[in-house]
């Protein structure tokens, strides 16, 4: 069963006096129930717009999106009853205490007073908010505000959780704890829709990943599917006895995705077959001594960067 189904989704913003902007441009994908889904993309790729559509904040211009088997445009309340959302922007009730933030979130999601109080104790303990419980959120650090924001979603029992760059601003210890909690929620059958720019986070957490840019899908699949893309992509580190413009020119002629020169060392991201690359490098080595050579498959971040750079 799919928790989320998106079919040929479009969102066009048409502000007055400015050219229309296609924020989402024909996206189609599904998110299986009980999985962790990662949405990756650079700034302005359309991630937040997509989250806004799926969480019923804004309607799509065309296409269809269903969350928990309900159409986001036609049945927004049914969708909202089944989701909990951490938005990219820090969203807390600044003028209220931490306790009020957590309780009011629960009340607004239809949780009764007794149950809300019971959940409050568990959430406060897990997110170590006991000392700040009575403090006004306005006076807390950004990291703690973010912790309150994430803690809120565990005051309710929603089968689908959206987290738009949820761990931004958190200290590493709390980030680890949130990631562990996400894994545990997914193991318990919940669906997690995660957007992030921290690719290691996506690698560690996500069962399936969609990479988008300018509102369009660049690549999608399981982590293994994406790794297969890296079979044709290599990170190469070379150190030369002498490095001149002619050698750099020859390396550039190999059409690397990325090339960085640091003193006598060169780092390249190369797309092609390993054999052809090694042949080219052997040819270069006839003219100039290579003192160090290292080659490895690209990681997710490199695949991501390459896909974003290569898309016209």
């Amino acid at each position: 069963m799919n928790a989320i189904e998106v079919d040929n989704l479009h969102k066009v913003y048409e502000p007055s006096n400015v050219a229309p902007k296609r924020a989402v441009d024909g996206l189609s994908f599904v998110v299986p129930a009980g999985s962790v889904f990662g949405l990756l993309g650079p700034n302005g790729a359309g991630k937040t717009t997509l989250v806004k559509i799926l969480t019923t904040i804004t309607p799509p211009t065309s296409g269809q999106a269903r969350v928990a088997e309900h159409d986001v445009a036609r049945e927004p309340i049914e969708v909202r009853r089944r989701i909990a959302v951490v938005l990219q922007q820090t969203a807390v009730e600044s003028l209220l205490s931490v306790e009020d933030n957590l309780l009011i979130y629960a009340y607004l999601h239809g949780v009764g007073r007794g149950e809300a109080r019971r959940r409050l104790r568990a959430v406060v303990e897990e997110f170590e908010l006991g000392e700040q419980l009575r403090e006004t959120v306005y006076d807390l650090s950004i990291g703690t505000k973010r912790r309150v924001q994430v803690a809120k979603i565990f005051m309710v029992d929603s089968p689908i959780i959206f987290m738009d760059e949820a761990t931004t601003g958190m200290d590493p210890f709390m980030k680890r704890r949130v990631m562990d909690r996400i894994r545990s929620e997914a193991r318990g059958g919940k669906t997690i829709f995660l957007t992030t720019q921290v690719l290691s986070e996506a690698e560690q957490l996500c069962d399936t990943i969609l990479i988008i840019d300018r509102g369009r899908a660049l690549a999608s699949g399981t982590l293994e599917d994406l790794r297969r893309l890296s079979e044709q992509m290599f990170r190469v580190n070379l150190s030369f006895a002498e490095l001149n413009e002619s050698v750099i020119g020859r390396l550039r002629s190999l059409d690397p995705v990325e090339l960085q020169v640091n003193g006598k060392s060169v780092e390249m991201l190369f797309r092609g077959t390993e054999t052809s690359l090694l042949g080219e490098l052997a040819d270069i080595a006839r003219g100039i001594s290579i003192t160090q050579f290292e080659i490895r498959g690209a990681d997710l971040e490199e695949i991501f960067m390459a896909l974003v750079k290569e898309k016209p």
């Binding site: 922007q89 807390v92 600044s94 009011i104």
Partner: protein
């Protein structure tokens, strides 16, 4: 807890935990009555004639103070929309299992309660400390007028709070509205004797309609036919503002 109940509770917690709101909602209008009312009454205008009825200035001002309370409460509650946008919670609220209309209704319900408390305090001060004679049997009508007009102001100010992106712009609009609505109306002084342009402008000002309705229900001052026409105009004003506020909220994303 129902969706609307939760919204009312949320606004209640926001107001009760912040002394600044209580000051502006309740204390400032009463201070107007206690300080400006007595001062003006003794120094300048010991009595006014309103449609043939002689009134002490404090009595004349009491309905105006209640109208100010309604407007201040509405302005602060509408400002809450702005604060919600500023703190980012507004967009999160739109993902909660409540409709945007429930959000608006919850806020207006809280508004009405607070406005009623403010009016009660002003009336208590007027009656027990300043010995203003009011029409007790018309008190339910007064309460109805307070609630209906508070809702009208809240819907009007919500349109700006939802649509305007910058806090300085919102503050400028509401402060300017506050000044013009109050001083270009019958809130502080009777319109008879003022220049024609002033009278005509005041006659199309909803603040005048509100104050005249309150003055009629509380003190029995004013021509019933005129007050009835003003009540009808305020109902239309409220319904138009409600429609525009719903439209603004539906488009907020």
């Amino acid at each position: 807890m129902s969706g609307i109940g939760a919204v009312v509770y949320r606004d209640w917690r926001q107001r009760i935990t912040n002394v600044g709101f209580v000051f502006w909602d309740l204390f400032v209008p009463i201070a107007y009555l206690a300080l400006f009312g007595i001062g003006f009454d003794r120094a300048v205008a010991s009595s006014f004639m309103v449609d043939g009825q002689r009134l002490e200035y404090t009595a004349y001002l009491l309905p105006g103070v209640i109208a100010m309370t309604a407007f201040s409460v509405a302005m602060n509650t509408a400002w809450g929309f702005f604060m919600d946008k500023d703190s980012g919670i507004f967009y999160e609220l739109l993902t909660y299992p409540i409709t945007r209309r429930q959000l608006l209704i919850g806020k207006v319900c809280f508004n009405l309660l607070l406005s009623a408390v403010g009016a009660l305090l002003a009336v208590a001060l007027g009656v027990f400390a300043m010995h203003i004679q009011i029409r007790w049997k018309f008190l339910p009508l007064t309460a109805l007028v307070i609630m209906a007009t508070t809702a009208g102001w809240f819907f009007l100010l919500s349109i700006f709070a939802i649509r305007v992106q910058r806090m300085d712009a919102f503050n400028t609009v509401t402060s300017a509205a506050y000044i013009f609505l109050m001083f270009l109306s019958s809130l502080f002084y009777p319109l008879a004797g003022l220049p024609q342009w002033f009278q005509w402008t005041a006659r199309i000002n909803p603040m005048t309609w509100q104050v005249d309705m309150l003055r009629f229900s509380l003190l029995g001052a004013g021509a019933p036919a005129m007050v009835l026409a003003e009540a009808a105009a305020f109902v239309v004003f409220t319904l138009v503002c409600l429609a525009l506020a719903i439209r603004a909220l539906d488009r907020a994303a």
